[in-house]
Amino acid sequence: MTQSDSQANFTRRDLLKLISLVPVVSMLQPLGRILGNVNAGQAPNVIVLVFDAWSAHDVQLFGYPRQTMPNLAKFAEDAIVYHSHYSAGTFTVPGTASLLTGLYPWSHRALQLGGGIIKPHINHEVFTAVQGALSTIGYTQNTYADVIMGQAERYIKEHLPTGSFGLENEFIYNLPIFENDTLISYAGLEDNIFNLGGKGTTGSLFVAPFTNYWLSYQKLRLNGKYAKEYPGGLPDSDTNGVYTLEGIVDGVIKTLGEIREPTFAYLHFLPPHEPYCPTSEYIKAFDDDFHPVIKPVHPLSYKSVDPGGLAKRRRLYDQYLASWDQAAGKLFDFLKTSGLRDNSYIFITADHGEIFERGELGHFTPLIYDPLIHIPLLVSQPGQKARQDVFASTSNVDILPTIARLANIAPPGWVEGNLLPRLGGAENPDRSVFVIDAKEDSSFGPLTRFTASISRDGFRLVDYQYREYTGFELYNLVEDPEELKNLYGANPAILRSLKDELLQKLADVNRPYQKG
């Protein structure tokens, strides 16, 4: 058959047949996208999912008696589970800054609410570290985390505003014009002018009080609208308005679905951070016989809540955690069905924990105890088909060097963390892990009013240095995981080496700030 014969045989009927295939081709596009994800180049994606104020102490995967997170447990079946992972900070600012920089708070100096990373480390974020190897996406609902992330703005290809997937997106510092100056625009406009998240007066006498009232009123209206799904009120991110758990999960699924090139995505969700707002399905959950151990009120406790009050708040937190797990389950399923789990490293972790003991609740406290710093870490490797467990101590300063390695980049010289075991690093039982809280100190001076801890060989030494309370506490985490028996006075053999190492470390980090 000659070419002219074949052209002659191509009839109008054939043309119509071809046209009829157009809808089929368009239907295949989503499949193509999924396949595109699976085969998107040589380098795998790195996706970091951060849940805010999420303590390992309230997750059954780490030994909690309540079944708060069944979907997470399912995710863990094909992931590495780190059982002794710690945040270097006790609240969002130092915790997130350590996660993003691979530095301890005494180095990055983001110590106070509203503070940021100091100039010498401003470009030492993970977004900088993966430049050239991975495209970058940054999203957080937490304003304080957003401000820190925004300090590396020029290295974030797609920086989603904090209110992106909420029911309101109300704050002015989120406007694109301020994206190069998030730290200062936030301080100027939010802290000093609108003060939307605060309870004090605003710095604007004629505009802010009325806009704030209007926005609060809208919030009330939305709470009424969603009262059936959220009987205790909608989850609220203060400055960025109210949201639904499903809404933020759907938004993130859409964002991840649009990945077209090897990407590093940092996705920092606010739940289960307070206010704890369980859905109607879980609002009566955990009416059980679980009774947390009652511990003495610490002299530095800000709130001094009675044990009954603490147990009540903890149950509410667990209910919210279960609600969040249900919503997050949809995201975990998407990661599997979209093929992203086959070509991505997926980290699931927290910025810090949450405490419900010793009179203290929440996380804004000078105390350092396990519930506040012991956070979950799960890492799913591309195509992983079995669970692996790591029991050696790890810190969130290890995340950055590990991500760099996974992106085939040498870990940057500035980091203070190590490679995570099973991801290039080895389990080291002698590893020292530090935690610092110095929210009463200046970022530009030596640490003088702080809490610092060192954990090693199954022991934790905590150093409290405040005007109203000074002293050391030592706990055997293996024999006394509830940290009830302070061994400092008993002077065990390990005390000397832990104390020497901690004090030496503090002296080293303070040296550049000492006068003269």
Binding site: S185, A187, Y213, L220, F444
Partner: protein
């Protein structure tokens, strides 16, 4: 009458309803003094904690945002007062703009502080705010009427208000400088 003439006539009528430039300057200075005074007070309240994590240049930058916003806010408030002057009969508001404007600002400022205070513990119901707005309106009407009738009171108040013009020469340049710094930080970085 042609359309052009009609437009010119409307504009002429509109112009005659706008307070004079001297009146506007006096009132604007007062508005700016109150708005900037409150913003600076709030800034100074937050300053001690800022010193823990911001260096001097960063603090100046934060102050720039505050002053730039205050300039914008004061213009917005002035425009609202001028609009009231245009809408209401001249005798009620425009003719006595130099003291009626500041009186509205004073009453509005007190109401704003009260609203902020009530929002510390929760969101006051809309009914409460509506009653508050009505009280503000009544207070403004009564005070303007009182100042209208009692000339001595009017004279003393005007004497005081006129002193605030000096602040316009301080806060306007500060606001403009703040705007420049904000622009440089966001556009040129």
């Amino acid at each position: 009458m042609s359309v052009t003439k009609l437009i010119l006539a409307v504009l002429e009528g509109f112009k005659s309803r706008v307070p004079s430039s001297k009146q506007i300057l006096t009132v604007y200075s007062f508005v700016l003094f109150i708005a900037a005074g409150w913003s600076i007070y709030s800034f100074l309240f937050n300053l001690p904690s800022s010193l823990y994590y911001f260096n001097t240049f960063q603090i100046i930058s934060v102050f720039s945002y505050v002053m730039a916003f205050t300039l914008f806010e004061s213009i917005l408030v002035l425009l609202a007062l001028v609009a009231i002057g245009i809408v209401l009969p001249g005798k009620w508001f425009r003719d006595c703009f130099t003291y009626s404007g500041p009186l509205v600002i004073l009453v509005g400022g007190v109401a704003s502080v009260r609203l902020q205070d009530s929002m510390r513990t929760g969101i006051p119901p809309l009914r409460w705010v509506a009653v508050g707005a009505l009280l503000v309106l009544i207070a403004c009407v009564v005070l303007i009427w009182l100042f209208h009738k009692v000339t001595a009171l009017q004279k003393i108040f005007l004497k005081v208000v006129e002193q605030f013009v000096i602040f316009a020469y301080i806060y306007v340049p500060l606001g403009l400088l703040g705007m420049v710094i904000v622009l440089v930080r966001n556009v040129l970085q």
